[in-house]
């Protein structure tokens, strides 16, 4: 298993655990008084699961298991693969931080944090597809 895949999969497990913990905290809101900003984390909960866990796990497994491009360049551009990992995770963490802070202070700088988060995650998807597209093919049979 290549190092990038290990980073993706381990990060995915951490996001899953954090998402479950957040889900529990959000559920506690029904039986006890919680700080207001907690309620704004509901979209974060869904995105920790769908982006942090599901999509990240898929990205890691595809990088590992899809047919190689060539023997010389088996997994496409590895640097671009790392860029995908960094953009996806920095983008998602920026959202976790900015979403409740922006909800509490709508005119503050945190609104731009959400814009930056959106851009980072979108770039991660674009770079992932660009890098993985050539690997959606029959088994590699030599040049």
């Amino acid at each position: 298993m290549p190092p990038l895949t290990r980073w993706h999969i381990k990060s995915a497990f951490i996001y899953l655990a954090v998402a479950m913990a957040l889900g529990m905290v959000l559920a506690l809101g029904a039986v006890m008084q919680l700080p207001t900003w907690i309620a704004y984390l509901s979209p974060v909960f869904f995105h920790l699961i769908m982006v942090g866990w599901v999509t990240q796990m898929i990205f890691g497994v595809i990088f590992w298991m899809f047919p190689i491009v060539t023997r010389a360049r088996p997994r496409g551009n590895e640097k671009l693969g790392w860029a995908v990992y960094i953009l996806l995770n920095v983008g998602l963490l920026l959202r976790v931080l900015s979403e409740p802070l922006n909800a509490i202070n709508p005119q503050d700088v945190w609104g731009w944090g959400l814009v930056l988060s959106a851009l980072f995650q979108w770039l991660a998807a674009v770079f992932f597809v660009y890098n993985s597209w050539p690997r959606v093919k029959e088994r590699y049979r030599g040049d």
Partner: protein, 135 residues
């Protein structure tokens, strides 16, 4: 990777891009409001990513890696899997575009019905391949 899996996976990549594009616009709009009509795209964002990206990728991978037969055709009767690809994608677009184009609620119902058809057609094709080593 068989041709049909390539179709499923390439379609799923397309939906990943579409879903993330809508999602990025919605998130940016939350931070720096652009236009309130953007919220009409929320169902499309969810539909494209849940069914177009994750479910479609899963079906493509399943068609590729489920056990094959010793004799041709190695993947059995594949008609259901081809039918599922068409039903799923038409269903996704009908379901996603309903709120955006203000279509009748029947568009959503028809879209979901096509998705049910896709699930049944794919299951019909894949069930016989869900076996142990002894067959």
């Amino acid at each position: 990777m068989p041709k049909l899996s390539q179709w499923y996976i390439k379609f799923s990549f397309g939906y990943l891009l579409l879903g993330f594009t809508f999602g990025a616009l919605l998130l940016a709009h939350k931070g720096q409001p652009i236009h309130p009509a953007f919220w009409n795209w929320l169902p499309a964002h969810i539909e494209f990513l849940l069914f177009g990206w994750v479910a479609q990728l899963t079906l493509g991978m399943a068609f590729w890696i489920l056990p094959r037969y010793w004799k041709e055709p190695r993947r059995g009767n594949t008609t259901g899997a081809y039918v599922a690809l068409i039903l799923l994608n038409v269903g996704i677009w009908l379901t996603a575009m309903g709120p955006v184009l203000r279509l009748s609620p029947w568009a959503l119902i028809l879209g979901r019905a096509l998705e049910v058809g896709a699930a049944l057609a794919f299951a019909h094709a894949a069930f016989p391949r869900v076996v142990g080593r002894e067959g």
